[in-house]
């Protein structure tokens, strides 16, 4: 059962622009995580935000969480070509493994 759903499915931007991806989920969570996957590679953990947090930063990444709307957003500022990848949100609920969404494919052109 898919918990998180990312939006948009695909995003194309120019280098230097900001990229925003959204994630909606259905049930209560302990935390929400974002992962990046480069083509042909495994997923890499980017950032985790707990249910009692509203915003978190890590370098050029900014994640927000709105538990009342069951949604999260990932903002990548000043995008680079190297940010080209697929981005997945994953929800962590008590007693279960992470449930992943289908991902947003980001393409950053120079």
């Amino acid at each position: 059962s898919q918990q998180g759903e990312e939006d948009p499915q695909a995003l194309s931007i120019q280098e230097g622009e900001n990229a925003t991806m959204n994630c909606s989920y259905k049930t209560s969570i302990n935390n929400l995580q974002w992962y990046r996957q480069n083509s042909g590679r495994g997923l890499v953990h980017l950032i985790l935000i707990r249910s009692n947090e509203r915003e978190k930063h890590s370098g050029r990444l900014r994640v927000t969480l709105d538990t009342s709307k069951k949604s999260s957003s990932l903002l990548i500022t000043a995008s680079r070509a190297a940010d080209t990848a697929s981005y997945f949100c994953a929800t962590d609920s008590a007693g279960t493994a992470l449930i992943f969404g289908k991902g947003t494919t980001l393409s950053v052109s120079s």
Binding site: Y35, G42, L43, L48, A94, A97, K102
Partner: protein, 112 residues
């Protein structure tokens, strides 16, 4: 990724044959997971383990079995491979609930 390796990286097998994929970790993490990734479906959980000999089923466990006799190894077996099991299989580990996962590089399995 450092600390977790999957083998083989690529495999082509025939329908009806058994196949075993291996996930090996050097992090001494308690939790290990097997996911499959398919276009249009994202990652779906097959089985997971929360300790030696402690395993449980995930969303898409039919046709798969797992074993964990040592902390460092988590084996995924396709008992009788079918074409619908053609996929990329990822192993992941974590130190505990509420922490991020570390993923292996994946095994691309093709069933012909």
């Amino acid at each position: 990724d450092a600390g977790i390796t999957q083998s083989p990286r690529h495999k082509v097998t025939e329908t009806g044959t058994p196949v075993t994929l291996r996930c090996h970790q050097t992090e001494n993490h308690r939790y290990m997971y097997w996911y499959r990734q398919d276009p249009g479906h994202g990652l779906r959980l097959i089985h997971y383990s929360y300790g030696v000999k402690d395993t449980d089923k995930g969303e898409v466990s039919d046709g798969y079995s797992v074993s964990r006799s040592k902390t460092e190894d988590f084996l995924l077996t396709l008992e009788s491979a079918t074409s619908s099991q053609t996929s990329v299989y990822f192993c992941a580990i974590t130190t505990g609930e509420g922490y991020g996962y570390t993923f292996g590089s994946g095994t691309r399995l093709t069933v012909v």
